[in-house]
Symmetry: C2
Subunit: 306 residues, 2 copies
């Protein structure tokens, strides 16, 4: 039995935490806004793979009340990463593995900068999941759910992967380095998350229009070029495979678009700002990404003013 902290019990955190809990692990959920509901009603995760109801989920509204854990799953949005310092101080020590289950770039560095953990302790969890929070303590999982574990070498990753697999969470890969995996995920997130917000649409509509489809592809190649400036090679075939995979997907609304629609802060910095800055440092021109980044900053700022 492993002791888990789930930092952020939303669409992603609840799904992972519920499966780990069902598998017999000792899971502690930071719930914040849903605390009262989860404490009295428990946690409900609906899924085509079978619903999980945890009537006695161990819920916390203050991270300071949480115990030290073997693994900390950071599953809140990157926009909450300002809270990493006190959270990791409470739940992590030198033996804890910190898993950044987030989109974007630079999340592991943020965790290291905010805590006194060692680089090898912080790993990336790249989650490919379609799930939504539909009410307090209530998450609906629609499809997917596999995770790639990357960073901190492979030994720590393999131990984590074994737990996850036993809990019914597919692990697609365990990789020694986080950054290449994060850049590959950006090949999808930058065009689809960005253009779906800007054009108020869904992935299938972007793919059905020759013009926006060409822009999706051009953005993918800008992400590849930015990664290359960091010494990370992503083959063109990888981008083509992403296009083909997205063609096969049902109509999908990326997380950034869901955030925008409900008036929440978008993950503009982690998904768009960080790669644009990396490209600038690398001396690579990424004009489409820059236009997208600044447009989303503008929309995000207005959304929060309004």
């Amino acid at each position: 039995m492993t002791r888990y902290a789930v930092l952020g019990t939303g669409a992603v955190g609840a799904w992972y935490g519920a499966r780990l809990s069902r598998a017999g692990h000792d899971v502690h959920f930071l719930c914040r806004s849903d605390f009262d509901h989860v404490r009295t009603q428990g946690l409900l995760v609906e899924s085509p793979d079978g619903d999980i109801h945890l009537p006695h989920a161990q819920a916390y509204c203050d991270v300071a009340d949480m115990p030290r854990c073997d693994v900390a799953l950071v599953a809140w949005k990157t926009t909450s990463n300002g809270a990493l310092g006190p959270a990791l101080h409470a739940v992590a020590d030198d033996t804890t593995t910190v898993v950044m289950l987030q989109n974007g770039l630079g999340n592991e560095a943020a965790a290291l900068a905010a805590s006194d953990r060692e680089p090898g302790q912080v790993v990336a969890g790249l989650s490919f999941i379609c799930s939504h929070k539909i009410g307090p303590g209530h998450v609906r999982h629609l499809d997917y759910g596999a995770v790639t574990i990357a960073g901190g070498g492979t030994d720590r990753g393999e131990r984590l992967a074994a737990d996850l697999r036993e809990a019914g969470i597919p692990v697609t890969a365990v990789e020694a380095e986080a950054e290449p995996a994060r850049w590959r995920k950006l090949v999808w997130n930058v065009p689809y998350n960005g253009l779906c917000v800007l054009l108020d649409t869904t992935t299938d509509a972007l793919m059905a229009d020759d013009g926006t489809r060409a822009e999706v592809e051009a953005l993918m190649h800008e992400v590849r070029a930015a990664a290359a400036s960091r010494g990370i090679t992503i083959p063109a075939e990888f981008a083509h495979a992403m296009l083909t995979d997205t063609d096969r997907m049902q109509s999908y609304t990326p997380s950034t678009k869901l955030d925008y629609d409900r008036g929440a802060r978008m993950e503009v910095d982690a998904i768009f700002g960080a790669p644009v800055r990396a490209a600038r440092i690398g001396g690579v021109d990424v004009p489409r990404m820059a236009l997208l980044y600044r447009s989303l900053l503008f929309l995000d700022s207005r959304s929060r003013d309004g």
Copy 2:
């Protein structure tokens, strides 16, 4: 006295036509959707410079009923340029000057392709005007109104300019060639018309945000680069002056945004498509313009489907 045809009696055409009519010229207005109203109630142009009411405006709903004119002012949107052939057949002969009072690129070529006029007969009228149609036969002029006449050499342009000036319409310049003037106007129209639609905003908000302001400027430089590939030099100082001028303007909603908001077709091809194609032919990369162009095509297509 000169005989004028105003082809398209909207926010631009009504203003020019009303001033020319007040100055004693013989002005014939193609009104289409407003025909019944204008025939019975006349035409009303409100302006801080003085209102003009033409109770007996010579209105037509069918261009075939219009007389041959000395000057044809083409003031409908470029999206109606498919109607140029029959219109110019009706109102123009070898002595007529055809003035394309429109935004974008390639409008003079469209008029030549649709008619048997000679190149020197078709000139560009680049109108800097802030006016809106607020009801049938009813236009409100808010500010500006100067026009640059360009193309067809300068003699024909000077004769036209003399008429316009006598009618109280400022003529800022008469130039021998249309294309350089059209590209200079695109330096403003591409960034502001495009980004105001995409970000659902106004010029002042784009200028107040450092990020979108930087994107406006980057788009201006892409337009300059595209023009340069056609042998047309627009100095960087010109773009900087446009930024400074826009800083001094009040909050402004560009025409493309007004079109989009009222569910009308946007002038995507003339303002965005034509310069993107010109850049491609010129071998110049214009990634921001391409993203803007394809995004607007997507929005325009969806707007007309819905």
